[in-house]
Amino acid sequence: MSAVAVPEYRPYTLVAELTYRCPLRCVYCSNPLDYARRRDEVDTAGWLRVLREAEELGVVQVNLTGGEPLVRDDLEALVAEAERLELYTNLITSGIPVTRDRLARLRDLGLDNVQISIQDVAAASSDRIAGRRSFDRKLQVARWIKEVGLPLTLNTVLHRENLDRVPEVIALAETLDADRLELANTQYLGWALLNRRALLPTREQLAQARAVAAEARQRLKGRMEVLFVTPDYYVDFPKSCMDGWGRRFLLVSPDGLVLPCHVAHTLPGLTWESVRDRPLGDIWRDSPGFNAFRGEAWMSEPCRSCDRRTTDFGGCRCQAYHLTGNAAATDPACSLAPAHALIEAARREAVDAAPVALEYRTRRAGART
């Protein structure tokens, strides 16, 4: 397939997954189920080159993430280089392994924003979701972030177990003087798909939470940005996942694979290339994996004839694959999808909601997503 190199496909954001190592075991983690097998991390020189090549490609923002990016002791070098390249840096962290001094140092090197995750509003429930004691530490780190003068984004992944506490989450964000609050209903892929029966909320729960968020957004206008991300199991039309496949986002995994998103490596039959083998720009333009779902030739019906195809691109390829077995199918989240019944069945299961045990992020070396 020939390379697509039109301005339409320009990455603005680099998602730099620096490691899969992490002190937490969140039940909704988006890392691969077999993450423990991937030990060969890209080194500092490799990441510095990735940053430079990303900037040349047009990237303007970098999300420093993982796993837990703070376990990398070369984070300072990466932030300094990103600053030199005028890239906006977001550190996306659990907050666990950091000192106040290190935050101040990162600030001095040019770090622009820190996003810290909180799993719930109280220690017992938050620690249960995270799989270890962590809540008090996170609050401490959130305070340090503001004390050293860094912008703070608080992220709470929402699901059945904590949706009813959205008012308290908002209050906590205000107490912490967060600049931004992400109320992010979980996407049901990876560990979250495994745990879907325990996590998917009811429509009523969602509507209630959305109303609370909307009120807070209005009340806090200009002071704290409040984002509410609806789970696509409860929409009529799917999200334009990643703003289109291989269109606006570039992800580099801990072992150097270049991907359009963090789940794409689970799709069978696609070839992915490593920053160790080729320049980033060549991969973005020529990689068969990246070109697999660009344009419209790959679309099946009804997407192919649908007016919305240029807005939502048929939804999420990974969700289409993991729910239907066909990555080119219409995302079942779409009400027009042939497989939409799968989503409706999941919603009914959520209403039934018998208690289900959670499966934690562990070293399941044999399992694949």
């Binding site: 303007v60 906006y88 600049d179 200009g222």
Partner: protein
């Protein structure tokens, strides 16, 4: 509405950057970016916390002599109000 003697500045989480690929200025903030048209860029460049809204309007009126002062004032105030609502611009009292 933003006051005439307010001194707008970019919020701490916001950065202004020239995008080499498009030749346009962009505002960058967490997980988002905004491409600025040339007039918006000229307004943002003056959001340093030192110039009042009145002074910003005056400078732009000089720069865009072909436009009426009223039109420029409307544009500046509308833009700054929108940016303030979004938490991207704050005003020194």
């Amino acid at each position: 509405m933003i006051a005439a003697d307010a001194r707008p500045r970019l919020a701490p989480k916001v950065r202004l950057r020239l995008d080499a690929k498009s030749g346009r200025f962009m505002l960058l903030y967490p997980e988002r970016g905004m491409v600025l048209n040339p007039t918006a860029a000229e307004i943002v460049k003056r959001c340093t916390g030192e110039l009042t809204v009145t002074e910003i309007i005056a400078q732009l009126a000089e720069q865009y002599a072909a436009q009426s002062r009223e039109a420029i004032e409307r544009e500046v105030v509308e833009f700054l109000d929108a940016m303030t609502d979004r938490g991207l611009v704050r005003s020194e009292p």
